[in-house]
Structures are given as structure tokens and as C-alpha cells.
């Protein structure tokens, strides 16, 4: 086991026998508290936090050593020591665990529901225990002279996903923002229970439509890790090709949409064309614009069409021609720069503490990219750069996207160049008893974590999908403070956090 180093410092009782590729250790109170200590002091980063009917699991990352380990705490008594009370990034995940399983974090300062809006048929759908009180949701108070509240959403004037934003403002200045999500809760983790791998892969695909490939990629790798198989090289290359096409399409869309929120519609129109061309190239290559249900455990279901390769090459000719001009336009439009530079700054300290992935983290100095830090196939054999900036403002998040577009184009060209003939899918072995797998994949927003346990029949017993946005949304609350409320849409778009991905 490579990651024993991380567990050397955490007292544990036993290792899970079939958890791959990183170790999972059962811990008692002492080990759990040590893990929280190390999270709170910043030597470890919280990578994920999820529950089961009678246990909770925390995935920990040692960034310096690129080591990962999972610690599990047995909740036979229906409670576990709260993590969030000492390490705030865990708060929403902890509240979600309480909502889904009814496990009580002891010592928690905040036990308000998160996913549960009191409209479910029964509380604690994945747990067994009974009733809960249905009080009205209490927003955190902000007091002072001249303060008033502005409630935005969940229904917005534009066609976007639902979320509620409660601002406390002093005139135009935002004093506090509190988000309340959960409106797109669809019970993914309940549906996963007992699903066979094929159905589960489809569910993973649909967790967040804009990251369909990334979720499927992470899910497939987790399942392959659990079953101890590896996808053939051609399949991993095709997966990466799809993942990079998805990243390209989303980054094109985002760059334009951010500018559009500063009322600079010209950029939006131009990048909209590029995004559409990318989606059409994906359609030509794989028969689906969003490339859904193509990445499955064992490989991919469909090989790239020859005309798809031509379409991608044609796309790149256009990108090479148009995109530099758009970057120049962005950089040289003073009125636009005036909006994006210094707006919505995320402190590097926050990005590190929350383990913010994707452009949010990398724009604030956090050098983490699952493709590089945890180098999975085929990225371990490809050369690319991970752009990192320090400014942490809207402008930096735009620039990270611009640089990533360039890297994705280069990556796809490498992949097309190296794509060797071969099989694209292997048959999965018969189930060999209970096994667990875990994987991360870099979606356009940041790292997606998938953890699953399969039974002897290769059915999913428990699967947890953690979007990068769990650790990005809270930073948006911090970034908007001392900004004016009219700048919120711009900051929000530069984060472009997932709703569907975190509402599960």
C-alpha cells in the first residue's frame, strides 16, 4: 500500500480488506479526533465525507505527498463526533449525512437540514431511524443598523438551476450571504443502492449534466479499482479525449457567460459559437453532444468515428484562429477588466483550507489537479501544464479557464496522435465477494470523487459521488463579502458551481 504514510499518524483499529486503490482504516474516537486535528491544523485536506446507515467515512488527502486514505468511524450508537465544529469545510457534508441517514454529529454547532426541505416522504431516507422536527429554516442572523435582507431565488429571472441566496446588505454592500441549496435533490444515492453496474453508471452520468463524462470517468475507475481490472489503453485515451472535449465546451461557455454577466454580450456570442462547434464535434465523434453513457466500467461503449477525428481537427483550426483574438479582446476591453479585476477575491488561505478544486482553487494559488497530482491513466503518460494563479479574483478564474482551454487542445492533439488500435472495452470479471473502490477524476469544475462498495453480485451497495462544488460554494459566500450586491452575478458565474451535483 502506497499511502501507509498518511495512516502512520492516525491510530486505527483495522484496515478494510478490499478497499482500493487507497487504504481505508476503521478508527475509534482517538483516531477520528486525530484526523480532525490534522484537518484543522491544515496538514491534511478533506477530500470527502459521507455516511452509511451505521458508519461515516472521511477521505483525507496529504497534498504534499499526494497520498489518500479513508478513515471510517463506526456509528453503532447513531452518532459520531462532529467534524464541522472544528473543520468548517465539512459542515454541509455533515448536514447532508444527518439528512440522509439520521446520524447525529455530537457537538455540532449547526444541525439545520441541508438537503431535506421537509418535502420528502420520510425523513432520513437512507437510514432507519424515525421522525425529525420540521421547523422553518432559520438563516444565520446579521445584525446592525441599516441592514436589510434581499432574498434571491430559488426561482430566478434567467433559465438557471434553482438555489436560494439570502443576502444581508447595507445599501449596496453585502454584509453576509448565505446559500440554501437542495432544490434539485433527486435521490441519486438512494437510487444507487442495489443498482447493477450498468444502471449505476447511467445514474453517475446524470448526476450533473455538464460533467457527464467526468462523473462517468470517476465512477468507471472506482468500479474498476474495486474489481481490480484496468481499462485497455485505447479506452482510457478515448475517455480522456471525451473529458477534454467536455472541459473545452464548458470553459468556452463559461468564459462567454462571465463576460455576459458584465453585459459584454459580444464575448458570449463568440464563445457560444465555439462551444456549439465543440459539442457538434463531440456529436460527430461519439454520437452524443454531451457524450453521455459512453464511459462505462471496463472501457467505453463506442469508438471514435473517423469523421469525428476530422471534425475535431476542423474545430481546432477554428479555435486556433478565433480564440487568440477573443483573449485579446478580453484583455484589451478596459470596461470589462474594470469589472473582473479585484472582484470577488478568494483568499489563498481559504482555498487551501477548503481544498477548493478546479479554477476556484487554482486561481487562488492551490496547485491541485487530479489529472496531475493523482495522475491517473492516461494522463500519467501525457504532457500538459496545470496553470496556477495567485490573484484569486474573477479575472484570475477567467484566465485559468483560458489557459486550460489551451492545455485541453494540446492534450486532445496528443491523444489523437497516440491513439493506437486496440480493444475499447473488456468484460468485467465475475464478482469476488464484497469489494470497495474509490477514484477521482478532474471535471471542468474540479475533482469529482466517487466511492463505492459492490456486493458479490457486482451490485452497488453504497455509492457516494462528491462534486468539487461542495468545497467551492462556501468560498463564494466568503468572496462576496465587502463586494456590492450588483457584482454578485459576475462572481457567481466565475465560480459556476454545480447545483445538481451537490443536491444529489
Amino acid at each position: 500500500m502506497t499511502a501507509m504514510g498518511l495512516l502512520d499518524h492516525i491510530p486505527y483499529t483495522r484496515l478494510a480488506p478490499a478497499h482500493r486503490p487507497w487504504p481505508r482504516a476503521a478508527v475509534a474516537d482517538e483516531g477520528w479526533q486525530t484526523a480532525i486535528d490534522r484537518l484543522a491544523e491544515g496538514t491534511l485536506t478533506l477530500l470527502g465525507f459521507w455516511g452509511e446507515p451505521a458508519a461515516v467515512h472521511m477521505a483525507l488527502l496529504d497534498e504534499a505527498a499526494a497520498e489518500i486514505a479513508v478513515v471510517s468511524y463506526d456509528c453503532g450508537s447513531g452518532s459520531f463526533p462532529s467534524v464541522a465544529v472544528r473543520h468548517p469545510p465539512a459542515l454541509r457534508l455533515e448536514r447532508a449525512i444527518h439528512d440522509l441517514f439520521g446520524l447525529v454529529p455530537t457537538g455540532a454547532a449547526d444541525l439545520r437540514p441541508w438537503l431535506d426541505h421537509h418535502v420528502w416522504e420520510r425523513p432520513f431516507p437512507l437510514g432507519s431511524r424515525g421522525a425529525r422536527q420540521t421547523a422553518a429554516y432559520a438563516f444565520l442572523p446579521a445584525e446592525g443598523e441599516g441592514l436589510h435582507q434581499v432574498a434571491v431565488g430559488p426561482v430566478h429571472a434567467g433559465t438557471i438551476e434553482p438555489g436560494h441566496f439570502r443576502f444581508t446588505v447595507n445599501g449596496e454592500y453585502v454584509v453576509r450571504l448565505e446559500q440554501w441549496l437542495g432544490y434539485t435533490h433527486k435521490g441519486v444515492e438512494s437510487l444507487m443502492r442495489g443498482a447493477n453496474l450498468e444502471a449505476a453508471a447511467k445514474l453517475a452520468n446524470r448526476t450533473s449534466g455538464d460533467s457527464a463524462v467526468a462523473y462517468a470517468f470517476a465512477f468507471a475507475r472506482a468500479a474498476e479499482a474495486a474489481l481490480q481490472v484496468e481499462a485497455p489503453p485505447r479506452a482510457t485515451h478515448l475517455r480522456a479525449l471525451m473529458a477534454e472535449l467536455e472541459r473545452l465546451a464548458n470553459h468556452f461557455g463559461d468564459i462567454g457567460a462571465i463576460c455576459n454577466d458584465a453585459s459584454f454580450a459580444l464575448m458570449h456570442a463568440q464563445t457560444g459559437v465555439l462551444r456549439e462547434r465543440t459539442l457538434r464535434a463531440a456529436d460527430a465523434a461519439f454520437g452524443h453532444r454531451l457524450m453521455m453513457d459512453l464511459v462505462v466500467p471496463g472501457g467505453v461503449t463506442r469508438d471514435i468515428a473517423p469523421e469525428g477525428i476530422a471534425a475535431i481537427r476542423a474545430l481546432f483550426v477554428e479555435v486556433r484562429k478565433v480564440f487568440p483574438r477573443l483573449i485579446e479582446l478580453y484583455d484589451n476591453t478596459a470596461s470589462l477588466q474594470d469589472r473582473t479585476v479585484t472582484a470577488g477575491t478568494v483568499k489563498a488561505e481559504y482555498a487551501r483550507r477548503f481544498g477548493a478544486g478546479g479554477y476556484v482553487g487554482r486561481a487562488s494559488g492551490r496547485n491541485f489537479d487530479a489529472r496531475r497530482t493523482l495522475a491517473y491513466a492516461p494522463y500519467d503518460g501525457l504532457s500538459f501544464e496545470v496553470p496556477v494563479l495567485q490573484a484569486g479574483d474573477v479575472d484570475a478564474r477567467v484566465w485559468i479557464r483560458i489557459r486550460e482551454v489551451e492545455q485541453s487542445v494540446a492534450l486532445i492533439e496528443q491523444i489523437l496522435h497516440r491513439l493506437a488500435p486496440g480493444e475499447i472495452r473488456i468484460a468485467l470479471p465475475a464478482g469476488r465477494g464484497e469489494c470497495e473502490g474509490m477514484a477521482l477524476a478532474e471535471a471542468f469544475r474540479g475533482d469529482v470523487l466517487v466511492w463505492l462498495r459492490l456486493d458479490g453480485e457486482k451490485r452497488v451497495q453504497r455509492c457516494h459521488l462528491r462534486d468539487a462544488s461542495w468545497f467551492q460554494w462556501p468560498l463564494l459566500e466568503a468572496a462576496i463579502e465587502d463586494n456590492i450586491i450588483a457584482d454578485f452575478p459576475l462572481c457567481n458565474k466565475s465560480f459556476n458551481c454545480a447545483y445538481s451535483g451537490v443536491d444529489l
Binding site: 434571491v152 454580450a265 469589472r339 450588483a486 454578485f488 452575478p489
Partner: protein, 318 residues
């Protein structure tokens, strides 16, 4: 006979502005869409929208006061009268001699005052935000436009628009620095007053960034139609005002025949087209500014207008 002719001409002018206003808005939208490589809505879409809204039921907040229901009519009336006072195809209209630039500004100011009240009437957060922003803009835009009027009036020797227009069209004016400054100031004010980029975005769907749209969010049906028509009239008014003061050539003077009037009307349409195109071009090439930059922007207009007036005083004829 003259009285009847004046009456008819004035009536034609009032109808003309009412009919042209949605077309101008539709034209600007169309050009903007084209500049963004989109096809854009048909030119006549604003008319269709108005008809559709007129047919729809009004949905009122349960705590809306009588003022909320009356205000669309007040706004529309004020803006329409103001728009029909500005000479378009010809000067020397019946009403022109009864009202001047200051009256037009007062009419628009009243319309804005009522609109801001309506924004706060229902008590939603967005209405309040919109009203407070609108009033912040108004406190700077109104002095700026008044100073512009003063500088122009001092050169022309009158605040009567018809007189100003005829004077500006004559050879007595020539090129003047103070007029140039007043021209720029008026354009800045016009952008702010009509909720255009960079001050406001007429096409936005972002509740938190709206100014004008936030104030009228609660309106529906015929009320919304009137509010929209008022905004369209206001845009037409400002374009006509700029055209009539700074580009008065071709407008028919008083007491001329129908062919001269027709020529004036044709030229007026040409001016609207040019201004509409320039507006769309400008809006496409610039991002919206931060809310707290707006005072700087309008402050520039105020300073320019003030300088124009001062220059006129100091030089006595520049």
C-alpha cells in the same frame, strides 16, 4: 385655417412619435443581435409585445396601492407629452411655443419620480434596489442635463426648442467648443436616462444588477405595456432631442409646404437610423460598469456641461 393646420401637424407629430418609438427599440435590438452574429427578433417585435401585453390580465400584488395602478398612466402621459414637444420632422409646432426644454426635463423628472415610487410600492427587495439606484443616477443626470440646456440656451438665446432648433440650423452658429462639450454631456445623460449599457442593461435577466427593470418587475399586462412604451418613447425623445439641437439640418421650419415637411420627415428617419445603429454599436463594444462607477461617469457629463456654460461666459462667444 392656420390653427387647423397647426393642430393637424401637432397631432401628426404626437402620433408619429407614438408609432415610431417601438420601431426604434426594435431596430436597436436587431442591430445588436446582428453584431453578435445572431438573427435577432423581427423589427416589429416590440409592437407585437405591446399588443400581447395589452391583451393579458393584470396580476397585482395583494398589497399594491392605488398609486401602483395609476403610475403607468402617469408615466406614459408625461413621457408622451414630453416626446411630442421635441421637434422631429419640423419645428414650429403648436405645442412648441407653449413649452420649452425645462418643461420637458420636468415632465421626464416627474415620470421618473412616480416610477421610483412604484418600485417601492409593493415592498419587494428588488424594487427598492432599483428605485434607490435610479434615484442615485437621477441626482447626477438631472443637473447635468439642466447645465447642458443652459449652455445651449445661452448660445441660442432661448430655451424654446423650436427656436433653438432653427437657430442651430442657421449660419449664425458655426463650430463652438462649448457646443461640443454640451453634445457629449447630453449623450452621456441620454445613455444613463434610457438604461443603456454601460449604466444599465436593457436585456439583462440578472435581478441583482437591474436598475430600470428592477423597478418595473412587479408590473404585468397593460401596465407593463404602458411602462415599456414609456421607455421606448423616452429613447425616441432623447434621440430626437440630440438630433434637433445638434443636427437640426433638414428639419422643416414653420409655415412651409407639405413636400418640405415630407423631406424633413425622411431626414428625421435617417437620423433615427444612424443614431440607433451607433447606439447598438456602442453597447456591443463596452461592458457595463460597476454601480459605484456610475457617479464618475455622470459626473463627467455634469463637468462637461458646466465647462460648456463657463466657457460660454468667459469667452463670450466661443
Amino acid at each position: 385655417m392656420t390653427a387647423l393646420r397647426d393642430f393637424l401637424l401637432q397631432g401628426a407629430q404626437m402620433l408619429l412619435v407614438l408609432l415610431l418609438a417601438p420601431l426604434l427599440t426594435g431596430f436597436v435590438r436587431k442591430v445588436k443581435a446582428r453584431l453578435l452574429r445572431r438573427r435577432g427578433p423581427p423589427l416589429l417585435q416590440p409592437y407585437r409585445d405591446l399588443v400581447r401585453l395589452m391583451r393579458k390580465d393584470v396580476v397585482l400584488a395583494h398589497n399594491a396601492s392605488w398609486l401602483f395602478r395609476v403610475i403607468p398612466y402617469l408615466m406614459f402621459a408625461g413621457t408622451w407629452v414630453a416626446a411630442s414637444l421635441v421637434p422631429t420632422f419640423g419645428s414650429g409646432l403648436l405645442f412648441s411655443w407653449t413649452a420649452d426644454l425645462i418643461a420637458i426635463i420636468a415632465l421626464l423628472g416627474s415620470a421618473r419620480f412616480f416610477q421610483a415610487l412604484a418600485g417601492m410600492d409593493v415592498g419587494t427587495a428588488f424594487g427598492g434596489i432599483g428605485s434607490s439606484r435610479e434615484v442615485m443616477i437621477a441626482t447626477l443626470a438631472e443637473p447635468a442635463i439642466l447645465m447642458t440646456v443652459f449652455s445651449v440656451a445661452m448660445i441660442a438665446g432661448s430655451t424654446q426648442l423650436s427656436y433653438v432648433a432653427e437657430f442651430m440650423g442657421s449660419d449664425a452658429v458655426g463650430l463652438r467648443v462649448s457646443l461640443g462639450m454640451a453634445f457629449v454631456a447630453l449623450i452621456i445623460v441620454a445613455l444613463a436616462e434610457n438604461a443603456r449599457i454601460p449604466v444599465d442593461n436593457p436585456a439583462t435577466h440578472l435581478e441583482l444588477t437591474m436598475v430600470h427593470e428592477a423597478m418595473v418587475l412587479e408590473y404585468s399586462g397593460r401596465h407593463l405595456a404602458l411602462v415599456d412604451l414609456s421607455s421606448q418613447l423616452k429613447l425616441l425623445l432623447y434621440v430626437s432631442l440630440i438630433a434637433c439641437v445638434f443636427l437640426p439640418w433638414g428639419a422643416a421650419p414653420a409655415e412651409v409646404g407639405p413636400e418640405r415637411l415630407a423631406f424633413g420627415a425622411l431626414l428625421y428617419l435617417g437620423k433615427l437610423t444612424v443614431f440607433g445603429f451607433l447606439l447598438a454599436l456602442f453597447e456591443t463594444s463596452i461592458a457595463k460598469m460597476r454601480v459605484f462607477r456610475i457617479p464618475d461617469f455622470l459626473g463627467a457629463a455634469l463637468m462637461l456641461a458646466l465647462l460648456a456654460t463657463l466657457l460660454r461666459f468667459v469667452s463670450g462667444g466661443m
